[in-house]
C-alpha cells in the first residue's frame, strides 16, 4: 500500500550491493534473508537450551567458562535459578517466533510461493522488504533483552501476568528485559501482519494461467492457510501486548488484580485480571502452533509425493484437512487454560473441540501413508526428513489427545508431558519440515546440491537424538515433574527423575553437536557443492521448470501456462515418469 511501484510492473533487477542483497525487493533474496535470520536464531536457541540443560543434569556444578560470559548468572558458583529461567524463556520465545514462524513461512514461503503459483514476485515487494526488516529489528530487540541490566525475562514464553506485569518487585529479570521482550513481540506482530496480507494477496491475485486453486501445490495451500491464521491471530496478541506494556510502563492494571502483596509490599494496582491475559495470549497461541506446523505439512506432502514417484494420495482431502485444522485452531485455545480458573463449562466445550482436531490430522497421516503405499521410494536426504516428519508428527500429535481431555490434563498439565508433546511435534516435526525444505530447495536457491552423505548422517543422528531427548520427557511428566523447574532434586517424589535429566542432557549435547554437520553441509555446499541441474529431483512444480538459481523475475518474462495438477508422477502413457505442471497437455489415447 505504501508500495508505489505499480504492482504489475516488473521492477528491474537492481545493481548495487545494497539494493540487491540488503534492501532487496526480490522475494527470493528476502526469502533467503529470512532463512538466515532463522538459522542464526535456531543456533542461538539451541545454545540456550544446552546452557539450561546443564543445570538440570548437574544442579550444583560450577561452570567457570559460562560464568565469564554471564557473571550475573553464576553469582555464588552454580547457575542461579533465575538465570535458568531467563535462558528457558529466551529459548522458547526465540524458537517459536524467530525460528518456526520465520523459516518455514517467511523463508521458504517467500522464496518458493511466488514461483510455485507462477508469479514474477510477491504482490507487494516493498511491503515484503519492510516486513523482513521489521522482523530483523524485532529480533535485535529480543536478543538485546539477553544482555540488559537485570537480565533477560524469566516469565516463560507465555509471559503470564501478573508475574510479567509487576516489574522488578516480582523478582529478577522483570525489569527492562521483560519490557524489551514485549516490545519485540509487538514489533513481530506487525511484521507478521504485513507478511500475511502479502501472501494472501499473492495467492489470490497472481496465479498464472491454468493454476486453478485445485492445482496449487500443497505447499502453497499450507502457506496460504498459515497466512490467514497469522492475519487473524497476531492482531489479538498485539492488543494483548499493548495492554501488557501499558501495565508495565503506564501504571495501568489490565492484568493486575487488587490486593496483591509481593514480598510484603502492597501493590497499588487494582481491578485487572490475569485470566484476561491468558485468553488474549492463547487466542493467538493456539493458532500460532498451527502456523508453525502447517508449512511443514505442506513440505512433507510435496516431498513424499516427489520421492515416492506417486501422486499425493487424496489431494482434495489434504486441502480440506489443512483448512479444517486452521479453522478449528481458533476454537480450542482454552485447552491451555483448563486449570487456570477458566469456567469449567467452557473447559468441557474446549476439550471436545480439541479432540476433533485429531480428525483432520488423522486424514493427513493416512494420506501420507497412502502416498508412500505402492510407490517407488527414492531415499534421498530430503525424503528421509519427510519420513521423519511423519513419524514425529504422529508421536507428538497423539500425546495431544491426552492433554486435550480435561480430566487427564489435571495430573499432566504443566509437567514435562506437554514439554515432550510440543517438542516432538513442534520442536522437531516442524523443524524436520525445515530440514526437508532446505535439502529439497537448496539446489534451486543456490544452484548447487547439498552433500547427500552428510545429509544422511545428519538425519540419522538427529532422528535418533531427538527421540532420545523428548520421548523420556513424557515419562518424567507422568511421574509428576513440573516444567520450568530449575532442578528436580527438591522433591522426594521426584527421586527417580534425576537419572532421566542426566540422560536427556547428554542426548541433547550430542544432538546439538550433530547440528554442526548440518551447518557444515550447508556452508560447504553453498560454495563447493556439485552444480545443480534445473530439475535435479525430477519434480513437477513450477519452480523446477526454471533455471537454478532462477533469474531476477523468475520466469524470464514468460509466465508459464499450467496444464496439470501438481503431483503427476508415474503417469501411465506419459513420455516421462513425471508430468510437469507447465508441460503441454497430454494426448491421451484411450487405453
Amino acid at each position: 500500500m505504501s508500495d508505489t511501484s505499480h504492482a504489475h510492473q516488473v521492477h528491474a533487477a537492481p545493481t548495487g550491493f545494497i539494493r540487491k542483497y540488503v534492501f532487496s525487493l526480490d522475494h527470493k533474496i528476502i526469502g533467503i534473508q529470512y532463512y538466515f535470520l532463522a538459522l542464526i536464531a535456531v543456533f542461538l536457541g539451541m545454545a540456550l537450551s544446552l546452557i539450561f540443560r546443564l543445570r538440570l543434569a548437574w544442579p550444583a556444578e560450577h561452570w567457570p567458562m559460562l560464568a565469564k560470559i554471564f557473571p550475573a548468572g553464576f553469582e555464588g558458583g552454580p547457575m542461579t535459578p533465575e538465570f535458568y529461567l531467563s535462558m528457558l524463556t529466551m529459548h522458547g520465545t526465540i524458537m517459536v517466533f524467530f525460528v518456526l514462524t520465520t523459516a518455514p513461512q517467511s523463508g521458504f514461503g517467500n522464496y518458493v510461493l511466488p514461483i510455485q503459483v507462477g508469479a514474477h514476485d510477491m504482490a507487494f515487494p516493498v511491503l515484503n522488504m519492510l516486513s523482513f526488516w521489521v522482523t530483523f529489528v524485532s529480533m535485535v530487540v529480543m536478543v538485546a533483552a539477553l544482555f540488559v541490566e537485570g537480565g533477560a525475562p524469566i516469565s516463560g514464553w507465555t509471559a503470564y501476568a501478573p508475574l510479567s506485569a509487576l516489574g522488578q518487585v516480582a523478582g529478577p529479570g522483570q525489569g527492562l528485559g521483560q519490557t524489551l521482550w514485549i516490545v519485540s513481540i509487538a514489533i513481530f506482530c506487525l511484521a507478521s501482519l504485513l507478511g500475511a496480507l502479502n501472501f494472501i494477496t499473492t495467492v489470490l491475485n497472481m496465479r498464472a494461467k491454468g493454476m486453478s486453486l485445485m492445482r496449487m501445490p500443497l505447499t502453497v495451500w499450507t502457506w496460504f492457510t498459515t497466512a490467514i491464521l497469522a492475519l487473524l491471530s497476531f492482531p489479538v496478541l498485539l492488543a494483548g501486548g499493548i495492554l501488557l506494556l501499558f501495565d508495565r510502563i503506564g501504571g495501568t492494571s489490565f492484568f493486575i488484580p487488587a490486593g496483591l502483596v509481593v514480598s510484603d509490599k502492597v501493590i497499588q494496582h487494582a481491578g485487572g485480571s490475569p485470566i484476561l491475559w491468558q485468553h488474549l495470549f492463547w487466542f493467538f497461541g493456539h493458532p500460532e502452533v498451527y502456523i508453525a506446523i502447517l508449512p511443514g505439512m505442506g513440505v512433507t506432502s510435496q516431498l513424499l509425493s516427489t520421492f515416492a514417484r506417486k501422486p499425493i494420495y487424496g489431494y482434495r482431502a489434504m486441502v480440506y484437512a489443512v483448512f479444517a485444522i486452521g479453522l478449528l485452531g481458533f476454537f480450542v485455545w482454552g485447552h491451555h487454560m483448563f486449570l487456570s480458573g477458566l469456567s469449567p463449562m467452557s473447559a468441557l466445550v474446549f476439550s471436545m473441540l480439541t479432540l476433533t482436531i485429531g480428525v483432520p490430522s488423522a486424514v493427513k497421516t493416512f494420506n501420507w501413508l497412502g502416498t508412500l503405499w505402492g510407490g517407488k521410494i527414492r531415499f534421498t536426504s530430503p525424503m528421509l526428513y519427510a519420513i521423519g516428519f511423519v513419524s514425529l508428527f504422529v508421536s507428538g500429535g497423539i500425546t495431544g489427545i491426552f492433554l486435550g481431555q480435561t480430566s487427564v490434563d489435571i495430573p499432566l498439565h504443566d509437567t514435562y508431558f506437554p514439554v515432550g508433546h510440543f517438542h516432538l511435534i513442534m520442536g522437531v516435526a516442524a523443524i524436520f519440515g525445515i530440514f526437508g525444505g532446505t535439502a529439497y530447495w537448496f539446489p534451486k536457491m543456490f544452484g548447487r546440491m547439498m552433500n547427500e552423505t552428510l545429509g544422511k548422517i545428519h538425519f540419522w543422528l538427529t532422528f535418533i537424538g531427538v527421540n532420545a531427548i523428548f520421548m523420556p520427557m513424557h515419562t518424567m511428566g507422568i511421574m509428576g515433574q513440573p516444567r520450568r523447574y530449575a532442578q528436580s532434586t527438591e522433591f522426594l517424589y521426584l527421586a527417580g527423575v534425576q537419572g532421566y535429566q542426566v540422560v536427556i542432557t547428554w542426548a541433547a549435547i550430542l544432538t546439538a553437536a550433530a547440528q554442526l554437520i548440518f551447518l557444515v553441509n550447508l556452508f560447504w555446499s553453498l560454495f563447493k557443492g556439485r552444480k545443480a541441474s534445473d530439475n535435479p529431483w525430477e519434480a513437477t512444480t513450477l519452480e523446477w521448470s526454471i533455471p537454478s538459481p532462477p533469474p531476477h523475475d523468475n520466469f524470464g518474462g514468460k509466465i508459464p501456462v499450467v496444464h496439470h495438477g501438481p503431483y503427476e508422477y508415474g503417469v501411465p502413457g506419459a513420455p516421462r515418469d513425471f508430468v510437469m505442471q507447465a508441460d503441454p497437455p497430454l494426448k491421451l489415447g484411450k487405453a
Partner: protein, 105 residues
Amino acid sequence: MNAHSENHDSHGLSTKLTLSVWVWLLVLTGIEVFLAYIQLSLTLMLVLLMGLSLVKAALIMAYFMHLRFEKRTLVLTLIPALLVVASTLSVFFPDSVRLLHMKPW
C-alpha cells in the same frame, strides 16, 4: 491486467445516494444518543446500541467502502472470517462473570 482500475462509475455511488447514507448514519447516531438517556437495563441498552452500531457499520461498509458493488465472494469471505473470529472472543465472558463473583477482597 488492469481490470481493477476502472469500471466503477458504471455502478458507482451517486452523490444523492451517498448523501442519503450519510443522513441515515447521522439519524442512527441521533437515535443512539437518545437511547442512552432512556432508563433501560444495561443489557438491553447494550443490545440496542450494538445492534444500531452494526447497522451503521454495515452501511459504511456497503456504501462508503463500496462492498455492495464488489463481487459477492469478497464480502462472503471477509465478513464471515472477521465475524467468526471476533465472536469467538466472547468466550471470555463466562470468566469475567466468575471473576465478579469470586473475588477475594
